[in-house]
Symmetry: C2
């Protein structure tokens, strides 16, 4: 049974807050009571920031990353390498890869990976639009940066097969020992892959 | 270092959401990206519910519980026993006691307990207004329902001393073995108190 509050306004706020993923009614009540102890301005800033974000942000018509404009700042940046596309699952992955500072090409956000068990087939993902971009002739390389899971591997292979006729180099993120990890605690499959794909040792590795 | 996003709208929403207690920037980003995947209406409902709640709710001028009106529905209910006041720390405690369905008197929300270590003295709590209510002549009993901690006990004693001149019965919530708990796992102090304050056994206990 869910708790009901005397105040319809409190009830409304708790109900709305508890719709967020991972937030139950108890946490929602704690957050609502916190806001009630703070200034009116705090709640107004929070509420308006949420509404403005949702109303102002759409998806880039090229790469499907979030954007405040028709085409996102990354796709629109002339200094970036427009011949390389990095394929990722989600908007969050774009933020993570951008934070590495190691990539200067463009992105393509799929919106997930193929997962028959969850009813997600290739048609529910932005795969057709990726193939169309790759087929345009200006793309030299497509980097697959999906999760190293069975679903990720399946999606990698599906995209690889769809790209085959288009004469585009398809690469995948290196699998190997995580930087900072001990060999002793690395799983055997990863270790096997990292042996198979060993790289020439050079000074530049020791940054 | 905090992550910065290309989109000022996303940055704004994540910053505001992460001001909530217990929510860091990672969780805030997860919630923001969730809202971006949902309809605009979801974010508008959430944002407006928060703003409307904060703007519409104030504190009851009698008991300091949250209220949409000058005097809260509990204080204004003629069917409740206006001669009994239950003293609680917070608005949440009122909700919890109301949910037991065992209390028909009024409340008084202190806004905390005396805690010198946190710089909270009696003057920062709604104690003067409680004494004024108790001194009005219509109050027969004040029930202390504060936490069974050192701070709660200190506050209990302080209020008891302040109420002494006013000829009001002062009671405290029973301390004892929690219903459903085994004796083996009950701490010694609680067990000692529950022995000292043992009650006559009767059929009515076995509900």
């Amino acid at each position: 049974m869910t708790q009901e509050f005397e105040s319809a306004l409190l009830e409304g706020a708790v109900t709305e807050i508890s719709r967020l993923p991972g937030i139950g009614r108890k946490t929602a009540l704690r957050l609502a009571l916190h806001l009630l102890r703070e200034d009116v301005a705090t709640s107004v800033s929070l509420g308006e920031a949420i509404i403005n974000m949702r109303k102002g942000i759409r998806y880039c018509s090229v790469c499907h990353n979030i954007s405040e404009t028709e085409v996102c700042p990354i796709c629109g940046d002339p200094r970036r390498d427009a011949s390389t596309i990095c394929v990722v699952e989600s908007v969050k992955d774009v933020l993570i890869i951008e934070n590495t500072g190691s990539y200067r090409g463009l992105y393509h956000v799929l919106g997930g990976v193929i997962s028959p068990i969850d009813g997600i087939g290739p048609d529910k993902l932005e795969i057709d639009s990726l193939i169309a971009r790759a087929a345009s002739g200006s793309i030299k390389e497509v980097i697959l940066a999906l999760s190293a899971t069975m679903e990720g591997d399946t999606t990698d292979y599906y995209i690889y097969k769809r790209l085959e006729p288009h004469n585009v180099k398809v690469t995948q993120l290196a699998r190997g020992v995580s930087v900072g990890n001990e060999i002793e605690y690395t799983d055997e499959i990863t270790l096997g892959r990292s042996l198979m794909n060993r790289t020439l040792f050079s000074d530049s590795i020791m940054i």
